[in-house]
Amino acid sequence: MKKLLVNNSADIVSARRHFLASGAMGLSSVALSWLLRQERAFAVPAKPKSGPQRYDLLPKNPAHQPRATAMISLFMQGGPSQVDLFDPKPELTRYNGKPYPHKVKYDNAAQASSTCFGSPWKFARQGQCGMELSELVPNLAKVADDITLIRSMQTGVNNHVQAIDALNTGQIQKGRPALGSWFTYGLGNASASLPAFLVLTDPRGLPVAGVRNWSNGSLPSLYQGTVVRPKEPRILNLDAPKHIDAEVQRRYLDYLDRLNRQHLQQYPGESDLAARISSYELAAKMQDSAREALNIGQESKATLKLYGTDDAATKDFGTRCLIARRLVERGVRFVQLFTGNQTWDHHGSIRSGLPAACRYTDKPSVALVQDLKSRGLLDTTIVHWGGEMGRLPVIQNDTGAAKVGRDHNTYGFSMWLAGGGFRGGYVHGTTDDFGHHAVEGIVTHHDYHATLLHLFGLDPEKLVFQSGPRTQELVKPQEGKVVYDLLS
């Protein structure tokens, strides 16, 4: 009998398997399903210390029973003003126009003042829980009983880049993997045809820190976030250039397929050639899936209206929120929406700028919560709404009522969360009487991340990436802890 001459080569082994798979049955759905499987189970192993580790997107079991399986993060880049939206401060209102009695750290010295700036907007109790919210977020009032409002967020770093990195990667240094990359690394991809981590950017521009917001950092590049662009092609490489319409691409693929099958006839046993043919079929399928997921045309009129896609003020953000829901419905693990160009960075003209930013996001964000809830998805989907910082209780740019603004504040700010195990109708933590510093129930970005991981069933101590002698993690155990009070 002819014996295999190589006794130790994984290559040969897998080549033989392909031969058996495709040679015996011809190129068929078997090859395709093998390929699908290979895509997902690309866990080709055998890593002695000397070789690079292989990584995959195979769905992985969490360490414990998860509460959440997906997350949509609405990242309000720039820093929404907590004292005008979420954190009423009667004392600040009393001090309005008077010198602020404590110390302040400013970002912009030239326009700095120490004059207190009471919120020009009214707050009222909302929902059964009686959560106090500003008149600027009337829609949010409708879901007050569904959200957890954290009033005591703190990162302690005063500029946008570092603060974004803190919230989105856990560390203020550049180059760390983004939150979505960590989730993908830890849990794999639950979708066979869509990326696990998708980012929807603002047509008005990228957030501060640019593409780093969805970087895989030092994790392998298959954990990088995939951007859904505001213009065609919506997903680079997953969507054809604008001038290649579906019909052109179909003909192109047909012709390519013909070329490849002719070639394969010469080598009927070469499973890699067959697999590559299937890989185009799979690519086309993925492309269709992506197109289908991004097409909101199939949504009902009522849904489109709910998200405000019929109104110029909310059309963009509403569309993105709606797409986010469609993606999560189709198994995407982590979707992040960014507001661009520092939408919320109201150093000046806050009296007009803040209401505009609220109009842009309030209705669609709340629609997302309502829609997820009505579809039974909110239980397992975390919705996050918040920025990288808040704003100071004092005036910046004291040159007239229309021009005043607020400078950065990273010592105490607010954000809200819903679903996936977060406790509805609950307000967590407090800031001082002026809303500058978080004083009770402080939640750092590390605590926030530890809590998210917990809800996804991941153990922060075990979500570690090892490269050589170094380890990297999203949350170091000594840095952050799960905030159980936030959970239902």
Binding site: I12, A15, F19, K47, S50, V208, G210, A240, P469
Partner: protein, 937 residues
């Protein structure tokens, strides 16, 4: 975390990965209902299936105990529970709990009980059931040994006869070329060796591949590019004897040979242009000189012994009086000295995080050494020594002390106690004249800097005055006094006052917030100062490894691999097992050299022609790149866990051939490529399992091109390939979605894309070997096609077939633009050629349009030319007809779309929408995405 724990973890992790591999493979096989028995076992410990043969301690049991148990029961004087499991008689003798085995009865054997219950080994990695069963069977069989065991094991590592006799540690044999029968198409000794295996199995060589196939194969193999039209016509026109041989000579003489084979060497050297280790991943702007050194050396056919010596000890090969290697050298270096210093860049390829803030220096420094040793040993010895860093190697006969002896060879250059950061290790190529010129220019810059500072102070003062004027004059007066008071001496009231008026805090850093104009003016001065400094003679550096003369640190064995637990001092030496039990000593301190001479001595030992591994490992790697796999399938591991040679005699014959031929590679390439084995067709014999066929080299194996070759080949088709050689790496940047592409970064200060594109003037079309290799930012197109990330090096590339590759070829802007350029080239070159009727059928672009309709002829000419460029051969009539049909139909579709006003993009090179041209782009893209193009057959 303590390094000790980490290293242990890593070692365990590797075992884990093996376990996982096993499980994963089996699971997948079952999933597809495949029979896998004949494929097992996959690896080392149970390499020979001992069903019927006699189980012996030495052959079957000791390797298991060595892997799982020695570290606590026998090694380095550790005998937990007073039990030593290194010999059978010690098992019988037992420990605190009595005898460990009862020969002949597993159920009375305490050792077996502990193993079977999973209590031993402790920790997460357990023996596999098959291994436990093997031990049980051995005990039941009376626990036989092969021979009388030694009375004492002594303090040092005990090499068993099995270990000493392991194939890879035996001297290279002088082997006779097998005789061949006439008519078996043997063209060279290589063929004779292969036939000797084939014939008993009833196999023989496949027929020779046709000429164009061979041409394409040889071109991709030797220069990594598809044949040019000129190459095709020259080779096809040459019908005389020796045409193929002359083709090989031409390719071997091509400067692109060095780029192609240099890239192979760079893989195993772990070539990277960034330091790695931390997310910061700082650049290595001077590393490219090593890349160029490798390319030049290969082009020059530098003997491999010299190549190895220079890379390990180039600094010790300079004349003695030149080895005062403190930077800067202070005198001009000769081109040869520069070359030899540059060669040592090989030892500077490992990730080096020691200049990065916030790292544990002890750990980071020792990691540089560990990674460097790993690169050196896996590249030159084909052995993984890393396992012996913490304890005796679990599988191979490499005692821990051997690891540190090897390390001692490199320690004088890499003294971790007197560490030098990457920057401190650079050697400047500046001349005295350069330096004095630089000093003169620096003076100028400093003078202007002084002016700028003075001006800045004036603006700060002016701004402050303006701010003070805004507040109440009395308060302002007090504020002025407060500001004039040094910060530490301000009273509480003064501090309070300044806190109340934060805008008074004007500094150099915040000036721009108050006075843009002033800030812009100052910025202009900064630019001017920079411009002045930019006129300095460019100081070039070599990234190299060189010893500090006179500094000879002691090398300690680190207990459990922990640098904070230094143990005995060790002398430099090579691996003991390779010298049959006597560690070959390496010169400790050569008095004739300013440096210790240890690396030079080691390099000469490795290349003395009698070393059992150096030449074997080298020829195996060359073979692997020619045939797609090595004679030893694991080029970086010739040890117990690695593969055994499929053709051991051929391997030894080739190793001798290399050494006897003066260690020259081009001669070896030619020998291999002239063989029948290399020239075979890839067509399958339907009666033979293709995998069996391949394993005997009874057919050429169809292979996908490597990442770099795919990119270069597509650019070649586009007509844009820039063949400029050498020099600093072509920059890379993140595009708007974060993919890494070739280009110059234009993001703003907040890292957002500005949309600005800096023209690359053809640099974007350089060959891939010249594109920046940044560990944390792999070029997307290369990454997608399995280019390695260096951690720390790549012994063998993996080849995947995954949809991101299909998606990239289908939709990426890069591929679309190159397909468009390809189409443009086809239009240009065919339109300028003769009309179809006049074409010469022998010419490369011969269009055969005789009986076609006139309006078809243009499409036909184009399709044929594109086809020839992509595949180096003419399409068959049928293929051409299909191509034309595709083009015509798509053209028609575009015409209709245009008529309906639905076309949406203009062509790049004209304002005209050209449906035929658009269709041709799709056709060209199909060609370059097709298997016929992506694979070499």
């Amino acid at each position: 975390m303590r390094p000790l724990l980490l290293w242990q973890h890593t070692c365990l992790a590797s075992q884990y990965a093996r376990l996982a591999g096993w499980v994963c493979f089996t699971e997948r096989a079952i999933l597809f209902g495949l029979v896998v028995n004949c494929l097992l076992p996959l690896h080392g410990i149970l390499a020979s299936e001992p069903t019927r043969e006699l189980l012996t301690f030495e052959q079957h049991i000791r390797p298991l105990f060595k892997a799982y148990c020695f570290v606590c029961h026998g090694e380095a004087g550790v005998q937990e529970g007073s039990l030593d499991v290194r010999l059978k008689r010690l098992l019988v003798q037992g420990g605190d709990s009595g005898a460990a085995i009862d020969s002949g009865n597993r159920s009375h054997s305490y050792l077996f009980e502990r193993i079977e219950s999973g209590e031993m080994p402790p920790g997460e990695v357990k023996m596999k059931p098959a291994e436990v069963e093997l031990i049980g069977r051995w005990i039941d069989a009376g626990a036989p040994t092969l021979r009388t065991e030694p009375d004492t094991l002594g303090d040092s590592y005990f090499f068993t006869e099995e270990e000493r006799n392991f194939w890879a540690f035996q001297p290279v044999q002088v082997v006779e070329v097998p005789s061949v029968t006439p008519g078996d198409r043997s063209r060279s000794p290589i063929d004779a060796f292969l036939l000797a295996h084939m014939e008993p199995a009833g196999l023989s060589f496949a027929p020779d591949a046709d000429k164009t196939t061979l041409l394409r194969r040889a071109c991709f193999d030797l220069v990594g590019l598809p044949p040019t039209p000129e190459q095709v016509s020259t080779f096809c026109a040459d019908t005389s004897e020796g045409a193929y041989s002359r083709l090989l000579d031409r390719l071997l003489a091509s400067p692109h040979y060095g780029e192609r084979w240099g890239r192979h060497w760079l893989d195993t050297a772990g070539y990277a242009e960034s330091e790695g280790y931390s997310p910061a991943d700082p650049p290595r702007p001077h590393a490219y000189k090593y890349r160029d050194y490798v390319i030049r050396s290969l082009n020059d056919d530098k003997p491999m012994d010299q190549f190895i010596q220079e890379q390990l000890a180039g600094d010790e090969m300079l004349a003695p009086h030149d080895t005062a290697q403190n930077t800067p050298l202070g005198k001009e270096l000769s081109p040869q000295q520069i070359e030899r210093l540059t060669a040592t860049g090989f030892l500077r390829m490992a990730a080096d995080g020691t200049a990065t803030g916030g790292v544990d220096q002890g750990l980071a420094r020792n990691q540089v050494m560990a990674d460097t040793l790993q690169i050196v040993t896996s590249t030159l010895l084909g052995i993984t020594v890393g396992c012996a860093q913490c304890h005796d190697h679990r599988y191979d006969p490499i005692p821990q002390v051997d690891y540190y002896r090897l390390r001692a060879i490199f320690e004088p250059a890499y003294d971790w106690k007197k560490w030098r950061t990457p920057k401190q290790r650079l050697i400047s190529l500046s001349t005295d004249a350069d330096r004095s010129e630089s000093a003169r220019i620096e003076k100028e810059a400093v003078a202007l800097e002084k002016k700028r500072k003075a001006k800045q102070q004036i603006y700060i003062t002016q701004t402050l005055e303006k701010e003070l004027a805004k507040i109440d004059s009395q308060v302002g007066k007090e504020a002025r006094i407060a500001l004039d008071t040094p910060a530490a001496k301000r009273t509480k009231e003064q501090l309070e006052l300044l806190r109340k008026y934060p805008a008074l805090n004007v500094t150099a850093g915040s000036l721009y917030l108050y006075d843009r104009k002033a800030a812009d003016e100052l910025k202009k001065m900064v630019d001017e100062i920079k411009q002045i400094r930019d006129t300095k003679p460019i100081e070039e550096f070599i990234r190299c490894l060189a010893e500090v003369p006179g500094s000879v640190p002691k090398t300690h064995l680190f207990a459990r691999g922990d640098h904070e637990q230094p143990d005995e001092v060790v002398e430099p030496a090579a691996l003991t097992i390779l010298a049959n039990g006597n560690a070959p000593t390496i010169v400790d301190n050569n008095p004739k050299l300013a440096t210790t001479g240890r690396r030079l001595s080691y390099a000469r030992y490795l290349t003395n022609g009698r070393h059992p591994l150096t030449a074997r490992v080298m020829v195996n790697r060359i073979w692997m790149h020619h045939f797609g796999r090595g004679l030893v399938a694991t080029p970086g591991d010739f040890g117990t866990l690695g593969a055994r040679p499929t053709h051991p005699k051929l391997l030894d014959w080739l190793a001798n051939h290399l050494v006897e031929g003066g260690w020259r590679l081009k001669r070896l390439h030619k020998l291999i490529m002239m063989s029948t084995a290399y020239r075979q067709s890839s067509a399958q014999n339907p009666e033979v399992d293709p995998v069996i066929e391949e394993s005997y080299y009874a057919r050429w194996k169809v292979r996908r091109l490597e990442a770099e070759v795919i990119r270069d080949a597509i650019i070649r088709l586009s007509g844009k390939l820039n063949l400029q050689m050498f020099g600093p790496a072509v920059p890379i940047r993140e595009d708007e979605v974060g993919q890494i592409v070739v280009g110059i970064d234009t993001t703003d200060s907040a890292d957002r894309p500005t949309g600005k594109v800096i023209p690359m003037h053809g640099q974007e079309y350089r060959r891939s070997v010249y594109i920046t290799v940044k560990r944390s930012q792999p070029l997307a197109v290369l990454d997608t096609f399995d280019a390695p990330i260096m951690e720390p090096n790549c012994k063998r590339r993996s080849v995947s077939t995954v949809t991101p590759q299909a998606l990239l070829l289908l939709n990426s802007p890069l591929v679309h633009s190159l397909a468009d350029l390809f189409a443009y080239r086809v239009v240009q070159e065919t339109d300028s050629r003769a009309s179809p009727d006049q074409a010469n059928p022998d010419q490369f672009s011969a269009p055969q349009a005789n009986n076609s309709q006139a309006n078809n002829s243009r499409a036909m000419v184009r399709a044929q030319f594109a086809w020839q460029l992509a595949y180096s051969r003419l399409p068959t009539e049928n293929q051409l007809q299909e191509a034309v049909t595709f083009l015509d139909q798509l053209t028609l579709y575009y015409q209709e779309a245009e008529a309906q006003g639905t076309k949406n993009v203009q062509d790049k090179d004209s304002n005209q929408f050209d449906p035929a041209r658009r269709a041709l782009t799709s056709f060209c893209q199909a060609l370059l995405s097709s298997n016929r193009f992506l694979y070499v057959d």
